[in-house]
């Protein structure tokens, strides 16, 4: 007869038991169906608000807190982690002033470049925008900056500054998310879209033509 604890251990060998070192939690980047386990370093200067899912059996977890063991690398405030300097720090998922339920080692890395990605209407990633963008007046496209260290995309978000020169040809619209903007083509002309976040810049040439051209 297989005892319950042994059965649980066997299940852990054959199924995903979570991303925490103790296999009792998943720390997800994003929310809902789009959520993925945290699988990359945090970008230096970024903030990261994970969705922590506790996977204990038979009991919902009590109120939990995140605690960084090396605040000079990562600080934890409420449900958000802030990447302060390159390195690694354990982040404990614990009852406030109580037991640790799980832990995750989080790395911080400095971004080496910034790319703009185009998103679909449902937020799906359509890939990096590498060349000039041609738009017809009235067109709206959704763009999102993504920071990388080498080939690895970094996690977290930072404040971003967007501008179009000359400003008349297109307008940048917020959509309630810090990491996305809508670009609305307004008047025919040639220009440059500039984005700066987490210490990196990217520029893209844009061309707007009239709807009747």
């Amino acid at each position: 007869m297989i005892r319950p604890a042994l059965l649980s251990w066997l299940l852990c060998l054959t199924a995903a038991c979570g991303t925490g070192a103790l296999g009792q939690s998943r720390t997800l980047e994003g929310h809902g169906r789009a959520a993925d386990p945290l699988s990359a370093p945090l970008a230096l200067g970024a903030s990261f608000s994970p969705e922590v899912v506790i996977t204990t059996q038979g009991s919902a977890p009590p109120a939990l807190a995140l605690m960084s063991v090396r605040p000079e690398i990562v600080t934890a405030s409420g449900r958000t982690l802030f990447a302060k300097s390159p390195g690694v720090s354990a982040v404990l998922i614990r009852e406030p002033n109580g037991a640790v339920l799980d832990l995750l080692h989080v790395w911080v890395a400095a971004p080496t470049h910034l790319a703009l990605h185009r998103l679909g209407g449902g937020g799906e990633d359509l890939g990096e925008v590498r060349d000039a963008i041609d738009l017809v007046t009235g067109d709206v496209i959704l763009l999102s900056p993504r920071v990388y260290a080498g080939t690895q995309r970094l996690a977290g978000n930072g404040e971003s500054a967007w501008s179009v020169e000359p400003p008349g040809i297109a307008r940048i619209l917020r959509d309630g998310s810090s990491e996305r903007r809508r670009l609305l083509a307004r008047e025919p002309g040639e220009g440059m879209l500039s984005v700066r976040t987490l210490g990196r810049d990217v520029k893209l040439q844009i061309s707007v033509i009239g709807a009747g051209s």
Binding site: A5, W9, A21, L22, R70, I73, A90, A99, L103
Partner: protein
């Protein structure tokens, strides 16, 4: 007679021994988190955490275990909750035999390195007390 004496010696040894410790987590890539059960020592990188389990010499989870660090500026320790039961078998005497000890909640802790240096973790439990030498490296 000799086997019985050996068993008696083993039983006395087990009764005299304090808790034993087993690592439950691995270090992050390129960092260190190592528990040497024989040497009763832990080596950790700064900022790295290691979960470990406390069990009595009989193999049963420690009862009433609590841990403290002599120097929290070097390493700190917190209790950990394990959503799991420990399956343990033990050697019983007299009339020596293996017996299933039953399932019991596991007793665990998380230790993490704060700054390079050396300190001692002291674990006290109803099963006895034990010390772990902790070295935190950069």
């Amino acid at each position: 007679v000799i086997p019985r004496l050996a068993l008696l010696a083993w039983a006395l040894f087990a009764a005299a021994c304090g808790p034993r410790f087993t690592a439950l987590s691995t270090p992050p890539i390129t960092r260190t988190a190592r528990l040497d059960t024989r040497a009763e020592s832990i080596e950790l990188s700064t900022g790295v955490a290691l979960a470990f389990e406390c069990h009595a010499a009989s193999g049963q989870p420690c009862i009433g275990a609590r841990a403290s660090s002599d120097d929290p500026a070097v390493a700190r320790v917190l209790p950990a909750y394990m959503d799991d039961l420990s399956e343990r078998w033990g050697w019983h005497s007299p009339a020596p035999h293996w017996a299933w000890h039953g399932s019991a909640p596991r007793s665990a802790f998380v230790v993490y390195g704060v700054a390079p240096g050396k300190t001692v973790l002291r674990v006290r439990s109803d099963n006895g007390d034990e010390e772990l030498a902790v070295t935190v490296i950069d």
